[in-house]
């Protein structure tokens, strides 16, 4: 580990800390229908959208209507994307002449992008036409992110209002999110990326003759426009197979800084938006503090493990100073690769700038465990916020048990119904991850997937289902996942991780919203102080640890000891 490495990490955290308050305040204004500097340009477009779609923006929805609207919108998005992938061969903007996407892969990919997972069973440059990338995948990068934020807003309003069933209007929230937040930020970021070297063209590839006389085909396309929203929307699905490790998708340290910032900027800002909307900024800061503490710890752990490197490699007479360089790019330091790995998995993003599969065992454990902790550190856009509010509810319940008082969060009493729903929601992750991993690891059709043998091969399967159920999208990419078995099973895991979590979460919002919002009394447990922050951290770690430690012990942990014993497979 080096001073420069730590400095690179610290600067990034500082950038996020500086940008989160203005972004959070801006989003609070947008989502509460207040005017912003963008309204002169965008308000006419927003009104046109409502008029054409027959939306009455003043009409509120209860939790059922909000949830049904969301489910229907997601289902139609799935159908459109599936059809587009199947038909790409006969549609325009296919300069590389790629064939149709197979049914199981199209199902997996459509689910993947509609659920904001962006798991890639495919290699972008060898599978997807430009039309599929632009009008299919890029659209879902915007829309699925906006859906996540909309749901978080609904839950926020349940705590902000007293005795109301109105959680807002799903269509309005989605429209405003795309128009005022995601699209303007994406335009600025895409242009910045182009200026820093990222391609943006409608051509498929350039053909060159190398200095040694070989033919080289350089795949490219409209990369920058997709890249911007891929990061801002915590989507993570890359234009190219290797995502942001590809020199066209991440040409230098500057683009790396911008992208790392974009992965976590909005999720952190949304925590502050939450504080503003519930009328107490400290509440948002407390949630952001939980996220920041655990994300920093994970980054430090990954950096330490990757800088320490691989003792088996060192024993072969290879220099040890740069750390573990397998799967990493020379232009990025081990520090910034470790930071990216922690951020992309803490944030449910899933893009990579280095191959997690080739991390050291403990370095690879960090991203895996960050996903398993529930994608709330800081989580995906929206999904991170509603996820951490569920953890906050669990925390006040645990704290209430300790002192024998009815638990209360933000003035709303938490009853048995909300607790049952919260537990139901957080049980989805272990069921989908551990259950499906067990199925895949016990069937031949699952066991042929991993490219690595020994505990690392098992870890590839565990990582795949963690990533799918956690709606992350990163991978131990040695796994050959583009088979009907994995495409379908991972697709189901993604659906469960998204919708089987959202429905109980929205039911909680529906149960909380009509309650009276009480003012804090002398006996109210404050949920903005250090004690509460510590307790939420404890709850997140204990939950994740209890549920997943045995599974991790069989994978990365045992591999760590075997690596130090010099054992290879």
């Amino acid at each position: 580990m080096t001073f420069v490495g730590w400095l690179q990490i610290a600067i990034l955290f500082a950038l996020v800390a500086l940008s989160a308050p203005p972004l959070g305040a801006f989003m609070a204004r947008v989502f509460q229908g207040e005017r912003t500097f963008l309204h002169p340009v965008l308000l006419p477009i927003e009104r046109t959208f409502y008029r054409v779609a027959g939306i009455d923006p003043a009409k509120g929805q209860d939790w059922r209507a909000y949830t049904i609207a969301m489910l229907l919108f997601s289902f139609i998005a799935f159908l459109v994307l599936y059809a587009m992938l199947r038909l790409q061969a006969v549609m325009p903007l296919n300069p590389a002449g790629l064939g149709p996407v197979s049914p199981d892969l199209a199902f997996n990919t459509a689910v993947s992008f509609v659920t904001n997972t962006n798991w890639q069973s495919y290699g972008g440059e060898t599978t997807m036409s430009h039309l599929s990338q632009m009008a299919g995948l890029t659209v879902q990068n915007f829309v699925s992110a906006a859906v996540g934020i909309a749901l978080a807003l609904a839950l926020t309003r349940a705590f902000a209002k007293s005795q109301s069933r109105d959680l807002g209007n799903f269509w309005v929230d989605v429209t405003r999110c795309v128009l005022y937040v995601l699209l303007p930020l994406s335009i600025v970021m895409a242009l910045a990326l182009v200026l820093l070297g990222v391609p943006q063209t409608l051509l498929a590839a350039a053909k060159v003759t190398t200095l040694e006389g070989a033919e080289q085909t350089l795949a490219m396309g409209p990369v920058a426009s997709q890249l911007a929203i891929k990061q801002l929307g915590t989507n993570g699905g890359g234009f190219f197979n290797v995502n942001s490790a590809h020199p066209f998708e991440n040409p230098n340290a500057w683009t790396n800084i911008i992208q790392t910032w974009a992965i976590i900027a909005l999720p952190f800002a949304l925590a502050l938006t939450f504080g503003r909307m519930v009328g107490d900024k400290r509440q948002g800061l407390a949630l952001a503090a939980v996220m920041a503490v655990l994300l920093s710890a994970a980054t430090g752990a990954a950096y330490w493990a990757e800088a320490a490197g691989n003792p088996i490699v060192a024993a072969s007479g290879i220099e040890t100073a740069p750390g573990n360089m397998e799967g990493k790019e020379v232009r990025f330091s081990v520090a910034s690769s470790a930071l990216w790995a922690a951020a992309t998995t803490g944030a449910s993003n899933g893009s990579v700038n280095a191959m997690h599969a080739s991390f050291t065992p403990l370095g690879g454990l960090v991203p895996l465990f960050m996903i398993q902790l529930g994608e709330v550190l800081p989580g995906g856009v929206g999904s991170g916020l509603y996820g951490i509010v569920i953890f906050a509810i669990l925390t006040v319940f645990v704290a209430g048990l300790m002192v024998g008082r009815t638990p209360e969060y933000l003035g709303k009493k938490i009853g048995a119904k909300e607790m049952k729903l919260a537990v139901l929601a957080i049980l989805i992750l272990p069921v989908a991850i551990l259950g499906f991993t067990a199925i895949a690891a016990s069937l031949d059709v699952g066991r042929v997937g991993p490219v690595n043998a020994g505990p690392h091969g098992y870890a590839e399967i565990l990582y795949a289902f963690s990533s799918a159920a956690g709606n992350n999208g990163s991978a131990f990419a040695g796994l050959t996942a583009n088979t009907p078995f994995y495409n379908v099973l991972l697709g189901i895991a993604m659906l469960l991780g998204r919708f089987a979590y959202i429905i109980p979460m929205m039911a909680i919002a529906g149960a909380i919203a009509p309650k009276i919002k009480a003012s804090p009394a002398a006996g109210t447990f404050p949920t903005h102080g250090g004690l509460f922050v510590g307790l939420v951290i404890g709850v997140i770690i204990i939950m994740g640890g209890l549920q997943f430690f045995p599974a991790l012990a069989l994978g990365p942990i045992v591999e760590h000891f075997m690596m130090h014993a010099g054992k290879t497979f």
Binding site: V4, L7, A53, A69, L72, F73, A77, G123, E125, T138, F142, W171, V178, L183, S186, I187, V194, L195, P199, T201, L203, V208, L211, E212, Q216, T217, L218, M220, A224, S225, N241, A245, P247, F248, I257, I312, G317, I318, E319, T320, P322, G323, M325, E326, G327, K328, E329, V330, R331, N353, A357, S358, P361, N452, P455, G457, E559, M562, M563, T568
Partner: protein
């Protein structure tokens, strides 16, 4: 249910037009104006012919050139249309075999530079570390009948440092330095 159907369908269409067509086309148009070289892949030319992209590594096997890192992209490495890392884990026997085989190509008294024997994440890494470049200077000087000092001076000139002292890693672009090497050899 039906009351939701119209907004669901209409918004899907509108968002597809706005974010799936208007947005990428507008960015493409702007990019082709403000940064045409980067927007089209940062292609490098010699004598008017494209020889590669500054951003994408290419294979070099000859002793006369600096070698890039091992690559797992495509069947033979450095396939610009099929990016890939090795995805070998830290206890993979295949990884250790490859590292030993690659290390044998970099003889010398000190430890072999790590990036010389490890595959990059993309398989298209355009750079090597300055230490890796210096390790190859002797071989290249001999193959070209050049003074080692000239090759080393070239490495010095082609090394990109950290911007502002902390942004990025020191590195040498392999295609750039090999072009410079050919130019230096051609010069008297």
């Amino acid at each position: 249910m039906l009351e939701h159907l119209r907004p669901a369908i209409v918004l899907t269409v509108l968002f597809t037009v706005l974010t799936g067509l208007a947005y990428p086309f507008a960015i493409t148009g702007a990019a082709q104006v403000i940064a045409p070289a980067a927007a089209n892949g940062s292609i490098m030319e010699r004598d008017g012919k494209p020889v590669g992209s500054e951003l994408i590594g290419q294979a070099f096997a000859s002793d006369r050139y600096f070698w890039p890192r091992p690559s797992a992209a495509g069947a033979n490495g450095y396939d610009g249309a099929s990016s890939s890392g090795s995805n070998l884990g830290p206890t993979a026997a295949k990884l250790m075999e490859r590292i030993k085989a690659e290390a044998a190509r970099y003889p010398g008294p000190t430890a072999v530079p790590a990036d010389a024997v490890t595959a990059s994440g993309s398989g298209l890494d355009p750079d090597i570390s300055p230490a890796n470049a210096r390790r190859q200077a002797g071989r290249i000087a001999e193959a070209r009948g050049m003074d080692v000092a000239r090759v080393e001076a070239l490495i010095e000139a082609q090394t990109q440092g950290r911007a502002l002292g902390f942004v990025g890693e020191p590195r040498v672009n392999v295609l750039r330095i090999n072009l410079a090497l050919d130019a230096a050899s051609a010069a008297p």
